[in-house]
Symmetry: C2
Subunit: 394 residues, 2 copies
């Protein structure tokens, strides 16, 4: 008989501790729950006849999002990817520009840059916030870029480095003060990818309100969902108007003529999806409480286990804990696949962080800094079941 | 006292004849009705927990669309514009190519070409089908283009003329046999913009099954709606698989790793919208009958009125009559705005054809042939109330 290996023992221990929190039944990574006005609003939407890009729920959802986040304006669109596409465009990203994006993110962050005809330039993350490492970025820019009139230019490629896109990984806020400083120092526009971070706060301000523009997502796996959906946030009235214009085919107001003054997009969120989104948004405070309780439960059961840590929001931030995260210690990075295999085989859905997008074939030749920390994190992160309904409402 | 002008008398006569069909209450141009399984399917969708890009309704909707249209494959996406974007990309349209599109169409036809980095090249329409004029196109290509190996090149710009996009205007099928002949003669790929023509038939085949790929739309103003939505049609298995892949972020199948092998898109239709779409599709045959009855009612009340005709499907086509269409005679084109003004002021929503997109500022410098017929049609077309529920179900 083979002795049970060290790897299996480690994986079993993780599985068993997770089970103490979530129980013995199979659990998914994150699933939505519909416990509020979802039915009522969908019915109202259908009864109104307005299920498409015009309707009361789109306006109500946008107003509620602006109020909740503290952004002056929210513009609801079909998903977070397209929200980021338009957010970047509105922030002045033009074909041939470079845009700084973390290598440790979902591929949509880079794709949105590509849709603008711009070039994702990959930067490293830090382990405290899981977001872009501002200090490393400052040194890197100082060495590879030069200031030319009012912009920063990559000396090697000759292209303007126009924007940076902090992404709040798994909902945990990036270190915004430090990133804003670097952005200002180099005249780089800050656009936030807040797709994962609705409800997450950095120093009393909601994520998505630090950039000139930002993108939210309401995909089915997010903290709240509109089926598919996203929103552009901004506090600039002109940009908000432009967001509405561009996402509705750039059509000018006229009683009946079809006059479009720009290349527009058909990105407006349908009223049907906004009805669902609004009902979900009303329940967000409750979901956030439950997600925090879930984090505390994981923190407690993993206390004292060696070889990993449960990620905890750093000081000055309040995370939505969208995806609960354990980070293996460096000497245990080889155990990641054992843990993923055993937990998933046991009905506990877990997943690793994304493969660094700088390593994906469409982006493998893009400019990048040394990605030591992102690379290490990518080998050590495991997301564990995170649905708010995994803990009792109390 | 001023005598009533000729213009007002003409407009009043049109308004009064429309009223004989639709009654005296205010009517919109086209509004959806929900009289089948909409509510049940939405409820089932919510109860399943799958409201987003995975779910039973997306698959069922796609299968039902393939069966209804006779295309082998249907891939459901967020809207018709993005469906056409991917349809063009799949058909080999590359940055710098030219794509032939009618000048008389909704702006999305050209925008989808632009999203591919390609250049819309505007061509004229003919009055019998309201689609691209195949004969004029043949002469035009013979004069401006040259054959180089297996492609046709615009001699003036040096760019390949890669594809043509017939659009079935207001649901009325274009003259597909003639267009297919020209496409073959010049090795130009045919991609159909069937956004308006679900349920429309050309010589026993559903529109959207003639091109290598095609796009449908289920926007709220269309014959059937999924809130927002569209679909890519193709009978090529490889292209269908590629459509699914590209519209779901180009992610490779893997238990947990995120590997994306191309620049993908987040275009998949949410299950919530597919639930609505499926319920609507089940009712399509009934809606088509009612739209045909409405056409016949308009045809009857306008019989004998001089100065205009009600557009009737040409031989060999069966139109869905998405938007009922009257076409003023050339000597009456100056009366169009009087008619639009009076009818809309009387609560009868009418609208003109689109301004030619070749005249819109983003496209005013694009290549084009002489657009005599499109230009004339654009001045003479008026769409009148077209909702299927305007006539009794019998």
């Amino acid at each position: 008989m083979n002795p049970i290996s060290h790897e299996i023992i480690f994986a079993q221990e993780i599985r068993d501790r997770i089970k103490k929190v979530v129980g013995d039944s199979p659990v998914s990574l994150h699933e939505p729950t519909f416990e509020g006005n979802e039915w009522r609003y969908l019915r109202e939407c259908l009864d109104s006849g307005y299920v498409s890009s015009i309707g009361e729920f789109v306006n109500r959802f946008e107003e509620a999002l602006a109020e909740f986040t503290g952004a002056k304006y929210a513009v609801a669109v079909v998903n977070g990817t397209e929200a980021l596409h338009i957010a970047l465009k509105l922030s002045g990203v033009r074909p041939g520009d470079e845009v700084l994006v973390p290598a440790l993110t979902f591929v949509a962050t880079a794709n949105a840059v590509t849709y603008c005809g711009a070039i994702p330039h990959f930067v490293d993350s830090e382990e405290l916030h899981l977001g872009i490492d501002a200090e490393k970025l400052r040194s890197y820019l100082a060495s590879i870029a030069s200031r030319q009139s009012d912009q920063t230019v990559n000396k090697e490629t000759g292209r303007a480095i126009k924007a940076m896109v902090p992404m709040h990984t798994f909902g945990h806020p990036s270190n915004m003060d430090a990133l804003l400083e670097v952005a200002e120092e180099f005249s780089i526009t800050l656009v936030e990818d807040a797709a994962e971070s609705i409800g997450s706060i950095y120093k009393s301000r909601h994520t998505g309100t630090f950039g000139l523009t930002a993108a939210l997502s309401f995909n089915g796996n997010k903290t709240i969902t509109s089926g598919g959906g996203g929103a552009i946030l901004t506090s600039d009235e002109t940009l908000a108007q432009r967001a509405r214009h561009l996402t509705q085919t750039a059509r000018l107001k006229h009683s009946w003529e079809f006059i479009h003054d720009d290349i527009g997009y058909n990105y407006r969120m349908p009223n049907l999806n906004a009805a669902l989104g609004l009902a979900q948004l009303e329940q967000l405070p409750g979901k956030l409480k439950m997600k925090r309780k879930l984090f505390l439960a994981y923190k407690e059961v993993f206390a004292g286990m060696r070889g990993l840590k449960v990620f905890e929001e750093p000081e000055d931030t309040v995370s939505n804990y969208w995806l609960q995260t354990i980070i293996l210690e460096e000497e245990n990075e080889d155990l990641k696949n054992d843990v993923l295999k055993l937990t998933n085989e046991s009905g506990i859905t877990t997943r690793p962080a994304w493969m660094l997008i700088s390593n994906l074939s469409p982006y493998e030749r893009n400019p990048r800094m040394k990605l030591a920390c992102s690379s290490s994190l990518s080998k050590r992160i495991i997301n564990i079941p995170s649905s708010p309904n995994l803990v009792e409402k109390k």
